[in-house]
Amino acid sequence: MAEERVLMKGNEALAEAAIRAGCRCYFGYPITPQTEIAAYMSKRMPKIEGGVFLQAESEIAAINMVYGAAASGVRAMTSSSSPGVSLKSEGISYIAGCDLPCVIVNVQRGGPGLGGIQPSQSDYYMATKAGGHGDFHLLVFAPASVQDMADFAVWAFESADKYRMPAMILSDGLLGQMMEPVVFPEISSAQPEKPWAAVGHNNARPHNIINSLYLQPDELEASNIQRFERYEVVKREMASAQTYLTEDAEIIVTGYGATSRIIRSAVNAARKEGIKAGMLRPVTLWPFPEQAYKDTLSTAKVYLDVEMSMGQMVNDVKLAIECKRPVHFFGHTGGIIPTPAEVLAQIKALDEKIRKGDI
């Protein structure tokens, strides 16, 4: 079958790809700028064998419906934007504590509080450090194009099942709202068996229990340790980054998601001016691609981290390179998207410093 390019919004491409990846239950609650995902699902799911679309009464209900569907072994998804994702924290912690696979989409908008509805990347901490109370992690994928929105939906479902972890797609209003041509991936992989699912034992096996309660501290600790051992495997197998012109780069500009597009434009412009700039874009935010950062140390003199936030990923960059080089930060918040020109100016200033020997 010839691959067909279709022009779609990121939100819609993600929804369509999720369905192709075998997502059979979508539970959500409207919030800008991700509502197209729900709208798309409401059109498509009723036409699909076993497909469920349900607009929940709240984000909390939605995540707990996902919990139920995932506990019964079905590929399930919810999506929201920043304030709505805050509300899901408890549910996310439960899902992680029960080792359930599912996909949670955060199409980020400006915060804190009600904030605004324009693109933002200020939920990095919430996604990578504290999706809720307790020790746990989410798989966090950061798409940078409409094509990624589609591809990562599939990737997220597959990895979630593989590692029995909730996966988050950390997008933003820019990627959700923009249209680009997208080619839908061929879905090859069959879904894995889920013998642990609570879906009725048919008198054929002992009853399954989905639970995160361990009143005995040693049992709770054991479950945490087991989970973190699994995380070590995930770190080895999943950490992913994209590099662009980094081979000889003195200035590594780093940023994820939509921001990486702006960085790429700026790096191109810098190269035109003879500045050795390169881009390092983390594709998975958890696990954070530390090795990819370390690999750039051989040429890098300085790092520039660009985010649509007050600076959240910047500490992970420092840790990845073990504070061996200065890491500068440049960001915008509130829905203002950094321009390639602004980033270029930052790069030039750093280049100047390098030339002057100040770095």
Binding site: L7, M178, R261, T339
Partner: protein
């Protein structure tokens, strides 16, 4: 080659649709394209704009800051964007709803009373497409053939009348002056 296009006007004037037509057409031409709308709360009455980029290489920032091509459909948008156009670029102005004039000499400004033309021809709401027609004529960044197949793909076949109307609007803009 990369063309950065900005479209702007009132909500309800079909700004987003016009942008989508351009992007779709570019895609069918096998090019890289991106389309980025302004978005806001639902309430009516605000302005609306949309960035479209057509390019032969991967597109970085999808936001258009300094368009090669500007399409403005109302007064506030004209005021806001006319000075952002790249020197050497061009602007298409819906004179039915734009009173101001610009004294920029470094860009080509094409005036067309698109709203009036559409209304007079029973194509209410078609001013956006009229302007696309003129853009095709003046810039050639998309072709008449391309636009026809685009519209045939974008509009469901059962709405044949709509296809006809859109093509009529295109031709009106194309043939203007």
């Amino acid at each position: 080659m990369t063309s950065e296009i900005q479209l702007a006007g009132f909500g309800g004037q079909g700004i987003l649709f016009a942008g989508k037509v351009l992007a779709y057409c570019g895609m069918l031409d096998g090019r890289e394209v991106s389309w980025l709308p302004s978005y806001g709360p639902e309430m009516r009455g605000g302005t609306c704009n949309c960035s479209v980029t057509l390019s032969d290489e991967p597109i970085g920032s999808p936001t258009v800051y300094n368009p090669d091509i500007l399409i403005v459909m109302n007064e506030p948008s004209f005021v806001k964007y006319i000075n952002e156009v790249k020197p050497g670029g061009c602007a298409f102005v819906n004179t039915t709803l734009v009173d101001s004039v610009s004294d920029r000499k470094d860009i080509d400004i094409y005036n067309i009373p698109a709203t009036a033309m559409a209304e007079e021809n029973g194509l209410t709401g078609g001013a956006n497409i009229v302007m696309i027609g003129m853009l095709i004529k003046k810039t050639g960044i998309i072709s008449m053939d391309g636009i026809e197949s685009t519209i045939r793909k974008m509009v469901p076949p059962k709405k044949a009348q709509l296809i006809e109307n859109n093509m009529k609007a295109i031709r009106m803009g194309y043939d203007f002056e």
